[in-house]
Structure formats: C-alpha cells, structure tokens
C-alpha cells in the first residue's frame, strides 16, 4: 500500500508540476472539539481526489478551511506550490478555488443568473453583468453539460439542478480547483451519473477536483486517489486503483464492515396496507399523485424507487398524515380518514403507523431540542411519558439513554441537543424513536442520506430485523443500491404514478432506471 502521493497515476504531466493543493499541519478546534489535527495532504493537478470518513471526522471542516470559510488554528496552504494565505472566501476564489457545500449556499428566491453573478459582478450596475453571465452560462452549459435555465428561481429547481448552479458559480469564477462536499448525497443515480460526466469534462480541461462522499462505489468509480479521515486526523491516502471498498471501509471505521445487507427471504403475512387510487393536488394546483394503488403485507419491505420529485415524498406524507388526499387507504382492513379532522399524523401514529421522514432536520427532529425530548417527538401524549397532568421527564430521559445505547448513538447523552449529533447519529435517534414504537407499518424515507457507512450498516440491519418481526415496511429511497438490497418488492414511481413493480432478484438497475425514466418495456 502506497501511502505517499508525490507521484500518482497522472504520469504524463504531474511529474514536475507542483501539486495543485498542498496542506501542511492544518489544525482546527471548535471549542473543546478538535475537528482537524495536524493534517498534511496534497492533490496533484488535473486529478480527482476523494475524501472519506465517518460522520464528524472533520472532512467538511478541512474543506471549509481550504475555502477560507473557517480560519485554521495552525498550518499552511500551498496552491500550485505557492504558500497562499486564505483569510476569507474572496482569497480562496482568487486563488482559483471553488467549493460546493453540502448544504447549498444559494439564495432561494433569486434566479439562477443572479446567484451565479452574486459577488462576481462586473461594475455597479447589474444589467451588463447579467448579460455577460448569460452568455458565459450558455458556453459553460455546452462545454460541461451543465444545462440550467438561467431565469428560473432557484427554489423551483430540483436538488440536482441546484447543484449544477453551485458548480456553475465556481466555474464562472474561473475555479481551477473544485471542492464538492457530499455532492451525491441527495442526487438520484441518473443525476449522479450526470455529475460524474461533468467531472470527466472538468478533468479533461485540467481542473482539479476534491470529492467528499460516503459512497465507496463513487470513490472507486471516478477518483484517482483517496484520503481517509478519522476523528480529525488524516489516516491514509491511497491510489484508488490499489485499494478496494472493503479495505477503505475498514480504514474508515476501524473494523470490518459488511457492505452487503444479509437477509433471508421474506415471509409475507396478512395484508397490512391497501392503497387505492390515491390522488394529491398541491397548493399550486399541480397533481402530484395521479391515482396510486399498492398493497403491502406484514413481514415484507416494499421499496419505492424513483427520481426525486415523482411523488414518493407525497405518498409518504399522505400515509403519514402530513398531507390530505383523495382515494382510499386501508390499514389492517380499516379505512383511514384522508381529509377530515382525523387525517393528522397523530391519529395515524395511534393507529400503528410509524414514520421516519425524508428530512431529519426539518421534520424528524427538533434540532434545538435535546435527544430525550426528540425521543418523545410525536408521542408526547403517550401515557407512558406522562404522570397525571405532567410529563415524566426523568423516565423519558432514562428511556432515551437506554435507546441510545441500543442504537449505538454516539455520544449517548440524552441531554445533548439534537443539532450537536452528526448526521448518522441524528438518524439513529429518529430510528430509535420510530422503530421501537413497534408499529404495524413503518414508513421510512431516505434512511441513510448523508450517513457514513458504519451507520448505514447498522440502520439496514435494524430495518431487516423489523421486517423479520413481521412488520410491514414501506421504504422510499433514491439510492437504487439501497432499494435493491433491502426490498422484497420494488415499485417504481414516475410522474405521480407507479410505473411497475419488480422483484429485486428478477431485475437490474438498468431496467429500474428505465422505469424511473417513465419507460416500461414489459408493458409495451
């Protein structure tokens, strides 16, 4: 295993050129947390360099330092061999660094064009800048397959498109080094593929790319070299061609990780959920669900695949009681109220539906609440949590502690606020709450979004365990891998409808991909 990186696979040019980026002895602490410890690493020009590591390992912090967003406590940065001070983002931009943050830094109610020129305007008047940017965007769009309508409001764009805007922003500022923090976390496979094609184009133009991701497959597919971070330190840098996913996983987590879900064939029982002709019309009078029907039995996992925005979210929300709809839904043979006073989430919970929402920050958790308060979220009126008129906070804390131990939430401190847990651990808190309610039906959306592989392994095991206890599980995920390995049946959604249903062992990603694009071979 080669741990140095002076010479890489980029035999042709990189030999005598200084590395595009070199970091020496970077350290950064947030109060008592040492986010980065004495980090040294370099990236050769014209390569794609991956960075992996558990949640909270310090990846984002390191990149933010490189981009001048945070100031390092110690260490220096060299760009193309030159020591460069990066006190702020302006300096990073002039040094040719562009960054796409995990949480996009876009002004939602601005147009794409306005977002692109923000901070890179020429002159005090907007008109000339906008005209110039419009031309430039057309050019970039052609060159890198980065098509976005410049006049659309960003809030109307899909995540994939928002990300393109972020990349366009960097390119518009003539970035030579592009940093992307978990860019595929929220992308559909098709969008991710598209992104990687863009990377190829950029690489061909001699640009350097640093990619942070939790997905080992991506690392293996497109990076030239990869660095592993653990607990604030850079523990290894290897050439991608000389490593394997298993090995990387072990470097990351410090133990062997099962990358495949191990499960026995399902033994479906009685029908739990019957959905017929479900329709949803949103505030803008757009029909989001166009007559969805499906059935789910006890002891099976039904995976809903689909490109984000094709109605999966609405389906979950309707079933969970967050949205009204028309049609019919029966739970254990009993008709559910879809529009009236009893169509709320609380009533659904009482009927035995648990829900792990797609968005843990805005829905699943109250970030300002402590862990124990989050454990009661949605169940605060449970008699077990109340003593007479008052809530039994002490008992709740004790129970939370136990749950945190069982679900390996780190750190297992019930009083810690949710916002202070890493993404993976936040997700585990939500799971601990919902799974242990012993529901008849578990609705679960994007269970492992932004979660590191150690945690993914754990979460997948829990979902399968629940199935084996005879519960019905409706899984929505944009990760085809996850759908394929967890589901007993797969339904593909497109444009508010179910395009078709497959068994995982009888299909492949290609066929699903076509269904997700609205093309049903079998039907034709």
């Amino acid at each position: 295993m080669e741990l140095t990186h002076k010479s890489g696979r980029q035999e042709t040019a990189a030999h005598d050129l200084p590395p595009a980026i070199e970091l020496r002895g970077i350290s950064k602490a947030f109060g008592p947390v040492q986010a980065n410890k004495d980090i040294n690493f370099s990236v050769a020009k014209g390569t794609i360099h991956g960075i992996i590591g558990e949640n909270g390992a310090g990846k984002s912090t390191l990149m933010s330092i490189l981009y001048g967003f945070y100031k390092a406590d110690a260490g220096e940065v060299l760009i193309n061999g030159q020591t460069t001070l990066i006190p702020d983002s302006q300096a990073a931009i002039s040094a040719g660094i562009g960054m796409v943050f995990q949480h996009f830094k876009l002004v939602e109610n601005f147009t794409v064009l306005e977002n692109v020129i923000l901070g890179a305007e020429d002159g005090a008047m907007l008109r000339p800048s906008l005209a110039k940017a419009r031309k430039e965007l057309t050019r970039l769009a052609k060159e890198y397959e980065l098509n976005v309508n410049p006049d659309t409001l960003v809030e109307e764009l899909s995540v994939g498109h928002k990300q393109r805007v972020e990349i366009l922003k960097a390119l518009y500022r003539h970035a030579d080094i592009l940093i992307l923090d978990e860019p595929t976390g929220v992308l559909t496979p098709a969008e991710a593929d598209h992104l990687f094609r863009i990377f190829d184009g950029l690489k061909k133009q001699g640009k350097t790319i640093i990619l942070i991701t939790h997905k080992l497959r991506e690392i293996m597919d497109i990076t030239d070299t990869v660095s592993v971070m653990r607990r604030g330190e850079m523990t290894a840098t290897v050439k991608t061609s000389e490593t394997s996913p298993e090995h990387l996983a072990e470097l990351m987590v410090g133990r062997k990780v099962l990358l495949e879900v191990s499960k026995t064939p399902a033994r479906p029982g009685a029908s739990v959920l019957e959905v017929e002709n479900l329709r949803v019309v949103d505030e803008d009078k757009v029909e989001r669900l166009k007559g969805v029907s499906l059935q789910l039995r006890a002891g099976e996992i039904l995976g809903i695949a689909g490109v984000a925005g094709n109605g999966q979210s609405e389906l979950l929300e309707v079933l969970a009681g967050m949205q009204t709809a028309t049609g019919s839904v029966r739970l254990n043979g009993q008709e559910l109220d879809l529009t009236g006073a009893k169509s709320d989430a609380r009533t659904r919970r009482k009927k035995g539906i648990a829900h792990v929402p797609e968005d843990r920050h805005d829905e699943g958790l109250i970030l300002e609440f402590s862990a124990w308060e989050n454990i009661a979220f949605g169940y605060e009126d449970d008699p077990a949590y109340n003593k007479g008129m008052l809530m039994d906070n002490a008992a709740l804390r004790a129970e939370t502690h136990a749950k945190m131990e069982r679900f390996d939430v780190r750190p297992p401190h019930p009083r810690l606020e949710a916002k202070n847990f890493s993404g993976g651990n936040q997700q585990k808190i939500v799971l601990a709450r919902e799974i242990e309610r012993n529901p008849d039906l578990l609705l679960i959306g994007q269970p492992t979004r932004g979660v590191d592989i150690g945690a993914i392994e754990f979460i997948h095991q829990r979902i399968v365990e629940l199935r084996d206890q005879g519960k019905a599980i409706l899984l929505v995920s944009v990760e085809l891998d996850e759908i394929m390995s967890l589901s007993d049946r797969i339904a593909v959604m497109f444009d508010g409808q179910i395009m078709g249903e497959r068994r995982p062992e009888e299909t492949d990603e290609k066929e699903l991909g076509l269904l997700m694009a609205g093309i049903n071979r079998k039907a034709n």
């Binding site: 109060g31 008592p32 969970a320 009681g321 967050m322 709320d344 989430a345 609380r346 009533t347 659904r348 919970r349 829900h355 929402p357 968005d359 805005d362 829905e363 699943g364 958790l365 109250i366 970030l367 300002e368 609440f369 308060e373 009661a376 979220f377 949605g378 605060e380 009126d381 109340n386 008129m389 008052l390 809530m391 906070n393």
Partner: protein
C-alpha cells in the same frame, strides 16, 4: 467541556453588564450636573431601603412579571406578542366589570373571580390576532400593535360613556366595593408580626404572579401542551410531522399569553387603583417585551428581570422626587440596561470567556 462555569454565565456576565449600564448612566447624570453616587444611593434606598420602597418596587415587579410571562409564552411558539399593552387594558376592563358587578363579600372570593374576568378579557383580545394569524396569515406583530390602539379607544369610550361616575372630572370608573380590596403586604405580613409599610401598593397579586411564573415553568417544560408549543415554535414543518395542529397551538398559546397579560389588572386595577382609570397599563405591556427577552424566556430570568425593572421604576421615581433629576433620565437608564444586558451581552461575554479559558489552561 464548558467554556465558562455556569455561575459566570448566569450571574457574573449580567452583573458586569448592569455595572456598565450604571456607569454610563452615572456619566450622564454627572454631565447634566447631578451627583451620580447620590443618585444611586437614592435609587437603592428608595426602592430597597424601606418596606415602603419594597412595596412599590414589588408592585411594579408584579406588573412586569405578568406581561413578561405573556410575551415569553407567545415567544415559545415564536409568536411575537406586542399586544400585551392592549390585552392588559382589556384585562383591566374585565377585572373592573367583575369587581363592580356585585357587592363582593370578601376578597378571597373576588380575587379568583376577577382573575377569571381579567384573564378572559385579555385572552379575548389576544385570540383575534391569533386566529387571524393562524387562519389568514395576518402578521401577528401588526395585528397586535393595531389591537393596542383599538383597545385604548375602546376602553376610553366605555369609561367615558358607561363606567364613569357622572360629575367626576377623571375618566375613571367608580371605586370598587370594599369587598374587592386585596390585602397588601402589610395586611399579609401583620399576622407574622412583620410590619410592612401600610400604604405601599404591593399586594397579594405578587404571589399570584409568582404562582403564574411557576405555572409557566410547569406548562412549558413539563406538560404535553408546553412541549407542543415549543416544538411548534422551533419548527412548523416538524409540528406537522408530529401531528401538532398549528391553528390549535397558535390560538391556545395566544389565549394563555393574553390571559397572563390580562391578569396584570389584578395588580394595578384591583390591587392598587381599586378602580379602572384610563391608560392604566402605562407601558407595562412594552416593558414586558424587554423583561421576557432579558429573562431569556425563563421564569426565573423573567422574575429577576421584572425585579430589575421594578427597581428602575421605583428608584427612578425617587430620583425625580428627591434629586430633581428629570424622570426621562430613568427612561435612559432603562434603555441602557436593556441595551447592555440584552443586546450587547456578547461584548462582555467574549472577553470573560477568554479569561476563563486562560485560567483554565493555566490550571491544566
């Protein structure tokens, strides 16, 4: 793990801030030709130096606890209730109507009845903006501001045309029957052998205010409803996920908030004036905003902040009484205290934190 010991956070920093505020105020007093030290002494002895001073300080404190709690309750649901002024005004009307309705035999019966009256009227005045916010999206900040103006017109009209005693110059209602006169501190403490100034206005509603503060604490942190209010305040989408009905929470929260503001009338209308006068709230609704914000929406903080403002009010009136310092100077002092303890908090916090970090490193 912590940057600073807790005592420094909750006690030291506010203390330094108040010190700075007083230093600045002292400079101003000095600049207009007064003696800052004498002024401070007058303020402190005037408000804490005698039972009479205490009686006034605690009387104002009581007002501010009620309005502070009202603002804080709404704030837990991220509703900014600027309407405490109007709600307290209506509360006064409610208390007056109850007090004047029958010849109450004893205050112990009249008090709960008046509390219900004040709370109901205050809540009524809050529930309209709440409903409009929840159902129609009308911004509660505007509607509550408007309701302050409307309340003042309404109460003025009713006083003038229906409640005023004919022949009386002042727009005020008839005096309340003796059976509604609340025991003052002097009445309350006499059985314990403690003599308290007989004429100071502090009365039993101070205890009601403290009980409300305790109730607020229970409600917000120890009941399902409080939990839901806070959850809704933190995240509206989260509330829908959890099955918390936003309309219901907004309305209920504002009902409680308005009721608390309305109950202020127990103190100023029933306890002190013993009649309803025009503009009886005298800005306490607005002070409540400062009290809640400075008290960080925590009952202990609110009671302490209310006491601080009670002190400023009473000490300030002593200042203008005996030192010839214009009463507006007290408003300046209040402004400085709010600014420093409330808004410029971090100015002091930063250096103090660094100091503790240094001390800590020195130890390690």
């Amino acid at each position: 793990m912590q940057k600073m010991p807790k005592w420094a956070d909750v006690a030291l920093i506010p203390l330094i801030n108040i010190l700075i505020a007083f230093t600045l105020s002292g400079l101003i007093i000095w600049a207009i030709g007064g003696d800052p030290f004498r002024a401070l002494k007058t303020m402190v002895t005037g408000s804490f130096g005698s039972t009479n001073g205490w009686g006034y300080t605690l009387y104002y404190t009581t007002n501010f606890i009620f309005t502070g709690l009202a603002v804080a309750t709404a704030y837990q649901a991220r509703l900014f209730n600027i309407g405490g002024e109007g709600q307290a005004m209506l509360g006064g009307l409610g208390v007056a109507l109850v007090a004047l309705s029958i010849d109450w035999p004893h205050w112990a019966i009249a008090l709960p009845a008046a509390a219900i009256g004040g709370a109901a009227f205050g809540a009524f005045w809050a529930v309209i903006p709440a409903y409009l916010q929840a159902k129609r999206g009308s911004h509660i900040v505007i509607t509550t501001i408007m309701f302050n103006f409307i309340a003042s017109a309404l109460v003025g009209y009713l006083l003038l045309n229906f409640l005023k005693v004919p022949g009386n110059m002042s727009t005020e209602s008839a005096g309340f029957p003796a059976g509604t006169n609340l025991p003052t501190f002097s009445d309350m403490l006499a059985p314990f052998g403690i003599t308290f100034a007989k004429n100071a206005p502090a009365n039993i509603s101070f205890l009601v205010a403290l009980a409300c503060a305790f109730g607020y604490w229970l409600l917000i942190w120890h009941t399902k409803l409080g939990y839901q209010i806070r959850a809704f305040g933190q995240s509206e989408t989260g509330a829908i996920y959890a099955g918390i009905n936003p309309v219901r929470i907004v309305v209920i929260t504002m009902v409680i908030s308005g009721a608390l503001a309305g109950m202020m009338a127990l103190n100023n209308v029933m306890g002190e004036a013993e009649r309803l006068i025009d503009n009886a709230v005298e800005g306490a609704g607005f002070i409540g905003i400062a009290v809640a914000l400075m008290g960080r929406n925590h009952p202990v903080g609110i009671v302490l902040a209310a006491l601080l403002f009670g002190f400023l009010f009473q000490g300030g009136s002593e200042l203008s009484l005996w030192e010839g310092i214009p009463r507006e100077l007290v408003v300046v002092i209040q402004g400085l205290v709010i600014l420093l303890t409330g808004a410029l908090d971090n100015m002091v916090r930063g250096p103090v934190e660094r100091l503790f970090l240094m001390l800590h490193k020195g130890e390690a």
